[in-house]
Amino acid sequence: MSGLTFTMLDTAKMSTAEIYGQALCGLGEEHPEIVGLSADLAKSTKIGAFGEKFPDRFFNVGIAEQNMFGMAAGLAKAGLVPYVSTFAIFTAMRGLDQVHTDICYQNLDVKMIATHAGLSFGQAGTTHHCTEDIAIMRSMANLTVVVPADGVETANAVRAAYERKGPVYIRINRGFDQVVYDGPDYGFEIGKAVTMRDGTDLTVIACGSTVWRAVEAAAMLEKSDGLKVRVLNMHTIKPIDAEAIERAVRETRRIITVEDHSVVGGLGGAVAEVAAGTGKSFSFKRLGVPDCFSIIGLHEDLLAHYGIDENGIAAAVREMMGKDFEADDDWEDEV
């Protein structure tokens, strides 16, 4: 099959969805007020593991997302902490009125785990892709939006969500992610970007499945072009790490954002808002799905197709480094 960038040996490492399922079970043991909800997707979204362990605390509401999110709100009002899981597209669109009014407006402790985000459900097509949810969700007041880079980071996010007051939206893939982190203790903190590689030639800001790819691209670029590219894992889109963005603008002046999401309104938009506010000039490019509905295909192939895999990122970096930036007509030494 074309496009697979991992071997069968890797799949053992790559069942990272299980890591999140285990994390939730662990949390559930420590905190009896945690309950789980699913809309007939318990198996696909891995919250089924929680459901098996705590059947009394798990509600499968069938294919009825609006009811599910409303129920989650009611359960939260009764003093429980609901973890609600379904595909990203249904969280961000089908149930959005409930997410917005019942959960966000009333600032309830409902933790939404939205799976199969971006193009990760490749072959299922547009009806199941979700390349708009970051844009939608970050515009909801009171909502924390986290896009973890791999299974380990998802587990961290799931745990951090419990500690965090108010509604949380965690956006993940199907569960077959490249491994970015070896273990959970690398300093995960909501609202703080993780510097994967440092450098001052250019900054690539990525989230979710593009983080691994950005790191690969940066390694490639250092080896072949001698470039020192800073890579930031901006796992929290809201509240975004404005300080890290401002520092990137100040210290590198060139920013490329990359996300498994539309170029409209997602991570790119969020970064642009902060960067533009610094008042400093900088070169900027958003990589993502180019404001279109995607073709079908394997996730890896789609990422390559839309230029958001490691080769696409490297090409974008090279292009930006070659562009004229500041006054390039005056090359006289100052005397």
């Binding site: 069938g62 009811n67 129920m71 709100a73 009611g74 009002k77 009014t101 009333q106």
Partner: protein
């Protein structure tokens, strides 16, 4: 248990008092959802003044019964009831809808003591109520959750998602009441989007249906008591009501879903309500 004469009298007087306060609030607000407030007032009055265990001094009391006004637009009917009970100062009603006021067209649970959920977007209340009811059961708590829906609201698919789920989860600690006033914004319900056979629909979704006259406290009492004792299926009380009841120039008129009263109309409304109250007392005395 049948209502005693005193109980019935007290409820009639209270409902009348609240209707008067409600039309005042409509006037102070400039305009409001008066039709649905009038039709729902008896249901809300009997729930709060006879059956629900609440403490206005302690709105967060863990074992309190919950009420969700899913037809959240009738805030001008609900707020007076809460104020009258002592959840907040009655004077606040004078600022209803004013800029910066905590009281607005749709009551906000973040801002108004006693309000359990911020409703207004129709179709949400039953899901939230179901979540609460299941939460109570999970925590082993005995309090009940009452949800009041509008009939037009039952066009929303989400309502039926929640109904299906309530039956599936056997949420008998959830008591649903529909304010069946047969009107919505654009006309009578049966003209806009026919709901009949309405009771059959609820039965088909696994509910026990009790149909009652929504302006007869005895009928309501009997229905609510049966609902609260349910153990097998969740209960829905379809309260047959008159939109804008008690005010002769708006009763039964869908156009008065939302409106305003000038000084003259306000006086007329109150006069009409007074006569209505008397006729209700007379009917009650016959029992």
């Amino acid at each position: 248990m049948a209502l005693t004469t005193e109980e019935r009298r007290r409820l009639e007087d209270k409902a009348h008092e609240l209707r008067l306060l409600s039309v005042d609030t409509v006037a102070w607000a400039g305009s409001g959802h008066v039709g649905g407030s009038m039709s729902a007032m008896d249901v809300m009055t009997i729930l709060y003044h006879k059956y629900m265990r609440v403490d206005p001094k302690d709105p967060a009391k863990p074992d309190r019964d919950r009420f969700i006004l899913s037809k959240g637009h009738v805030g001008v009917g609900y707020a007076p009831l809460l104020a009258d009970l002592g959840y907040f100062d009655k004077e606040l009603l004078r600022e209803y809808n004013h800029t910066g006021s905590p009281l607005g067209m749709h009551l906000d649970s973040n801002k108004v003591r006693g309000v359990e959920a911020s409703t207004g977007s129709l179709g949400h209340g039953l899901a939230i109520g179901l979540g609460m009811a299941l939460g109570a059961r999970l925590r082993g708590e005995a309090w009940k959750t009452f949800v009041l829906l509008g009939d037009g609201e039952c066009d929303e698919g989400a309502v039926w998602e929640s109904a299906m789920a309530a039956a599936h989860f056997k949420a008998t600690n959830l008591i649903t009441v529909v304010d069946r006033n047969h009107c919505m914004i654009d006309g009578p319900t049966e003209d806009v989007m026919a709901l009949e056979p309405f009771a059959d629909k609820w039965r088909a979704f696994g509910f026990e249906v009790i149909e009652a006259d929504g302006h007869d406290f005895d009928a309501l009492a009997s229905a609510i008591e049966r609902a609260m004792a349910a153990t097998d299926k969740p209960v829905v009380i379809i309260a047959d009501t008159i939109k804008g009841c008690g005010i002769d120039f708006i009763a039964g008129d869908y156009k008065w879903h939302y409106g305003g009263f000038d000084a003259e109309k306000l006086a007329k409304a109150k006069e009409s309500l007074g006569l209505y109250h008397e006729s209700r007392l007379a009917k009650g005395a016959e029992r």
